[in-house]
Symmetry: C2
Subunit: 118 residues, 2 copies
DNA sequence: CAGTATCCCGACCGATACTG
DNA sequence: CAGTATCGGTCGGGATACTG
């Protein structure tokens, strides 16, 4: 693993990391890692996300060029979301992150409990 | 890459991802990836972080068992921070994330500009 | 179905001052 | 040096209602 200098790592990269690190982006990207999904599919797949926040998150990811929004002009409306090539370069990292969180949930819970006990 | 079911990926893991994904955690973890650092070293290394937020971030990471805080009882105070074994398991992922952000800054900027122009 | 549009509360976080 | 304490503004984000 190469390490960037402090300046490289911390200055502009922080802006980008803020994006990836907001409340819902990683989960949305993870769900789109498996392929194309519609708005309502994502809403169902992500417990707790509000309609507003799903919209906002999707727009932000689209603006950043990470996902593509495809509108099919039919009635009722049909909109598909999938990863762009740029978004696909995040697939591995996002997957690793979600797997890490899943694998270390209990360790973190234990650490918190131990910390709070003191 | 194995994909977790929606439920596995989204429920409890979201709590953990919120931690990793907050404003400063990734940057602090990244800086500690290179080894032990003192409070003021981190403060200098991370432009824009306030004293308060560095303290809060370090406490949270310590509580979650990701970093270790070592107080040397001398005057003036000397406190070291480094990754725990659990924290070390995040090293690769955090490094990949920071490198990704650094490598794709321009693409994202271009995507934003293009999106905003429409 | 896939959104907009508002309202509004609470937390996040920066600024500042103080301390063992 | 490495914090803690307090204040206050901003804004993330939930709830609700409405629409092409």
């Amino acid at each position: 693993m190469d390490y960037l200098t402090e300046t490289e790592a911390n200055c502009r990269a922080r802006e980008v990391l803020d994006r990836v690190g907001d409340k819902w982006s990683v989960v949305v990207l993870y769900n789109l890692s498996t392929g194309t999904h519609r708005f309502t599919e994502l809403r169902r797949a992500i417990p707790g996300i509000s309609q507003r926040m799903l919209t906002v998150t999707l727009r932000t990811l689209e603006r950043d060029g990470l996902i593509r929004r495809t509108v099919h002009p039919v009635i009722p409306p049909h909109v598909d979301y999938d990863l762009t090539p740029l978004g696909s370069t995040l697939r591995e990292i996002v997957g690793a992150l979600v797997n890490w969180a899943h694998d270390h949930l209990e360790e973190i819970d234990e650490a918190r409990t131990a910390y709070d006990k003191v």
